[in-house]
Symmetry: C2
Subunit: 348 residues, 2 copies
Amino acid sequence: MDDLEEGLIRRKAVAQLAGVSEATVSRVLNGVGPVKEETRKRVMEAAKQLNYVPSALAQQFARQKSGNLGVILPLLPKVNVFSTYYFSEILSGIGHTAKQSGYDLLMLFREPGEPREYAHLFRTQKIDACIILGAQNIPSDYDALKELQREGHPFCLINQQYEGAPFNTVDADHRMGSYDATVHLMKQGCQRIWFLNGPSAFSNSLDRLEGYCQALETAGEPFDPNRVLVGNYSRKSGYESADIMAELIRTGQADAVIAANDRMAIGLLQGLKERGLIAGEDYALVGCDDSDGARLTDPPLTSIAVPFYEAGCEATSRMLEALTEPVLTAPFTAKLPVRLVVRASSQV
Amino acid sequence: MDDLEEGLIRRKAVAQLAGVSEATVSRVLNGVGPVKEETRKRVMEAAKQLNYVPSALAQQFARQKSGNLGVILPLLPKVNVFSTYYFSEILSGIGHTAKQSGYDLLMLFREPGEPREYAHLFRTQKIDACIILGAQNIPSDYDALKELQREGHPFCLINQQYEGAPFNTVDADHRMGSYDATVHLMKQGCQRIWFLNGPSAFSNSLDRLEGYCQALETAGEPFDPNRVLVGNYSRKSGYESADIMAELIRTGQADAVIAANDRMAIGLLQGLKERGLIAGEDYALVGCDDSDGARLTDPPLTSIAVPFYEAGCEATSRMLEALTEPVLTAPFTAKLPVRLVVRASSQV
C-alpha cells in the first residue's frame, strides 16, 4: 500500500465516522468549497478522533497549491547575490510582504546558460506565483516569459521591461533619475558629462542612458555617444574605467561622470583617488541606487535613491492579490518614483 | 472525483498499458525502490503515451520528501535582513551549495514573539532539513530545538551554541578573533581598551568577550567589567555610544575600542568623528566581520574577517549529506578560523 492509497483509506474512515461523503471530508480538511458549519464541526471531530491530520503535502496536492511564492534570481560565480544592495533590498521587501500573507518564499537560483524552465515550476506545483529578478533582454529569458504568459501563470518582473511585450512589471523611473542627475551636474557648471553605463541587455541601462540624453538635449547640448563607457555593474568594472577617466579628466575632456549604479561609482571613485583625482574637487560624480556604501565613501557619494524595497513589496502584493482574486486583466506596469540625493561628490 | 482519485485512475491506466502492477508504476515514476531497467523503460513509454506526468507535489507526496532545504531566519521590523552583511553572506553560501545539489531553499521568516513551530515544518513535509540563523539563548528557541532533536529531524545552527546542549552547529572561532584584536591593540601601545559588545543572548557575544578577557589576562592586565558597553549590533547603537566614548577618550580613560561587529564600529567611528575624534589618530578602533563597509570608511576599519559564506556552505553540505546518508552520529560542531585584517583605524 502506498501513500496515495493510505490517504484514501483514512479519509474513508473519517467520512464514515462523521456520516458524510468522502468529497465532503476533502472539502472540509482542505478548506475549499462550501460546507455547512455544523458539517464542518462533525468532520473535524471525526478527524481528531481518528488522529487524521493530512500533511501539508497532501493538502497541497488536493488543493493544487504549494503555498510558496517563487523568487527566481541569478546565481553568478564569485558574486554573492544576497550581498548586493540591489537584490538584498528587493528580497527584504518580498520577504516582509509574503510573510504577512503567510506565504513562504522558494528561492530558485538560475545559473548562466541553464535552461529557463519557469513554466515547469508551475506545472509541477512547486510554486503558485513568481517574481523574477535579473531577467535580461535575451531570447532564452524572453521565451520563458512568453511561455509563462501563454499558460496563464501569475508572474511579475522587477526592473526589467521588454519592448512590445506586455508582461507584469514593477519598475522605477530610472529615466527621470538620470535626467535629474544630469540637470544637477549642469547646474554645478559641468560641461563635459560622461556616462558609465551597465550592459544594454538590462532595460534599466537603456532607461538611464535615455534620461541623460534627454537632459542634455533639453539644455541644447547634443548627445555624444563617445562619452558613454560600459561596465558590468560590478565595483571592479568601475575601478577599471579609472585609467581612461583619469586621462580624460586631466586633459579637460571630462569634468563629470554619472555611473549607472553605486558599485561602479565607488570603484571609479577609488580608482581615481589612487591617481590623485578627488571627487567633488577635480571632477563631479553621481551614482545610482543610494546604497549604504554611498554614505561611507570619502567624499560621500551623490546618488539616485531607488525604492528597491518598495518594489519588492509592490510586486509581492500584486502577485498575492492575483492568487486570491484571479481576474483576467491586462498586464500592469508600476513605475515607482526615484529621488536624487546630493552629497559632496558632485559639488565641484 | 478529486485529485487523489484522478491520480490513482491515471496510474492504473499506465499500469495496464505497460503490463505491470500499479506499485511498479509508482516505483518507476517516483524513482524509489528497485526496478529492472527493461520494466522501467516500458513504464516510461506507457506514461509518455498516456501523457501522464506526475506533478512534483504528487511525487513529493509519494516520496514524503519536499526537495526543499528550509532556512529559518529572523524578520525584524525596520531591519532588512538580507541587507546585513552577516545574513547575506551566509545565505549566499547556503544558496550556492544547495543549488549544486538540486535543492531549493525555502525561506522561513520568524518574527519576534511568534511561536517556534519548527518541528511542524518537518511533520507536514514542507522541508527535508533546515538551517537556523539568528537563534538565541532564550527558552522558546531552545525548546523548539530540543523538539527537533527529539523527533530526529536533520537541522543545523549557524553561529549559535547552547551550553550543555549538543546541537549540530557551524560556528567560527570568535574567541580567537577578539583575542588577536586585543593583542594587536596592546602591541600598538593601547592600555585602556574598551569592548562594545552585542546582546548576551547570542553565544557569539560571549565568545568575543571571552577572547578579549583572555588576552588581557595573559598580558597580566586584569579584566575590568566597567570597560564593557552593550549595543544591539545595529549601526545606530554604535553611533549612540559615541557620547560616552568621546568623554572617556578625552579624559584619558579609553584609548581603544573593539566593537563586536562592523556595523556598531562604523556607527561609533562616525559618531566620534562628528565630535572631532579620529580613529587611528585619537583612538584605535577594531570591528568584527570584515564587511564591505570596513573598506569604505575613512579611515578604513581594522576588522576580524569571519568566513560567513563558508559557514553557509559547510552547514548546507552537512545537511544534504545527512539526507542522502542518514546515519546516527553524535551532533557535530564545526569551528571555522577567523583572521585579523589590519587597516588604518587601529594604527595609532
